[in-house]
């Protein structure tokens, strides 16, 4: 989780990613961020996020992203 927060903080140093649950709804992450984020997550955690999982619900909070990584890691 810490590694994920590092990736997120590098994208937006001024956002408190541990508490926000509206990253997509409030437009904090934009399409550029999503592409960067997916690439970095795939590299850092050795997973491959499929298109079906690239949906708003999975990216609204750090916890949701983390849950997605764990789910993919187990599969």
């Amino acid at each position: 989780m810490e590694q994920l927060l590092n990736i997120l903080n590098e994208l937006h140093p001024d956002v408190d990613f541990e508490s926000r649950e509206d990253l997509i709804d409030e437009g904090i992450l934009d399409s550029l961020d999503i592409v960067t984020l997916i690439t970095e997550i795939n590299d850092a955690f050795d997973v491959s996020i499929p298109a079906e999982e690239i949906i708003p619900e999975n990216f609204n909070s750090a916890a949701a992203i983390w849950a997605l990584i764990e789910k993919l890691d187990e599969a």
């Binding site: 550029l32 999503i34 960067t36 079906e52 690239i54 708003p56």
Partner: protein, 502 residues
Amino acid sequence: MLTNILQYLEGTAARLPDKLAFSDGEQGLTFGELSRLSRAIGSAVCARGMRREPVVILMEKSAMEIAAFFGTVYAGCFYVPMDAEMPMLRMQKILETLQPRLLICSAKTERLARELPFEGEIADCASLAACAENGAALAAVRAAQIDVDPIYVVFTSGSTGMPKGVAACHRSVIDYTESLCEALPFGEDTVFGNQTPLYFDAPLKEIMPTVKYGATTYFIPKKQFMFPFKLAEYLNEYRINTVCWVVSALTMISSFDVLEKCPLRYLHTVAFGSEVFPIRQFNLWRAALPEARFFNLYGPTEATGMSCYYEANRTFEEGESIPVGRPFRNTGLLLIGEDGREVAPGERGEIYLRGTCVTLGYFANPEKTSEAFVQNPLHHAYPETVYRTGDLGYLNEAGELMFVGRRDHQIKHMGHRIELGEIEAAAATDPGVRRACCLYDEAGRKIAIFYTGDQTPGGLGATLKKLLPRYMLPATVRQLETMPLTANGKLDRQTLRAMLNE
């Protein structure tokens, strides 16, 4: 004789009044409605005694915004699109440059408009559109309008931190529309899925053919571009058959196997540009849509949108580049060497563009205008202004233009044109920053900034966020003890580049 872009709209509105022209999926306007609202807005602007002056349009991307554009032209003025996502300081600089008397907003952007450092009148688009049409006033404007009058000013990145406003006239946009429509398979049945923001010249590719032919353009909500599956479903839902997107939007679909999982049923024309298309991704697109036609487009804002095109109708090998191709009809291409002469075939030179496509220049900026809009270097027999792009290219054996790169520090990132100097200038406004240097990591497609000073990386990030649009924000912000310098005291970009790749 076509001398005014409004002739396109008027012809189509008479022929196809009930056909949908522009829509965001929820709200749309037919050609009849678009024509009526544009004339009403034009009459309202006319009534303010305005003529040949800028009207700032600060609205969300919508059919109504298009009515505001055309309405401004009906009033004999030129529109300057701004966007709610622009940082406040950028908008402030644009307003300082323009000194406009009128800003048109929508219900959604009115609050933001009132926060701007702006002394002029703020008018709501819906209330302007509700005004009665004044046919006599519009006719008087039209009688005085000629095809070298400007119709828009759009702002691009400037290396000193001051955005430059490119002004384009009727004649250039008509020339672009006619030559673009001749080269690409557009027509009445075209259904565009627009991706590019309306505050650039890029959407002319969709707006102008739409009003010329009576086609339809859907403004795809920005959020769709974050979620590849939803994007593909959107294209199918609205039967979109033609897209002119930046490469990163196309690869968003192809890199997640969406082309297989959600086949695009209607898409038959794919134009792209502004960036290198990774060949593997391009071949995925071609394989998924074997019947579709693919076009690479190239051109600077200063030459009215796109200038060259290439139909990519074969498979490319890894490592190969897709050519930029040939100029549109009535556009001239020059490749000039450092000695100011044309280079030999196959040699690298700076790309100059000539023709009616060359825009009027930078708004209220004679200095920058004279640097880039120059006399044709091949003769001095009569005045002929050509545009120096700053791009380098060469002609391949087939005589097609190949793009090489820039001769300065301008980059293309996610389809946006960026001067790295503008990011450095923004960093320099932070009192905790002594010196800053920006680099572009081509491979990782990331902007990086190195700096010295007491400011924390997070603090500098926050400073930049206030000054720059999202797409210009560096992905890497790194603090250094000292800035590496070359023997003669210049910033050592090579050492910084090596540090980036460590």
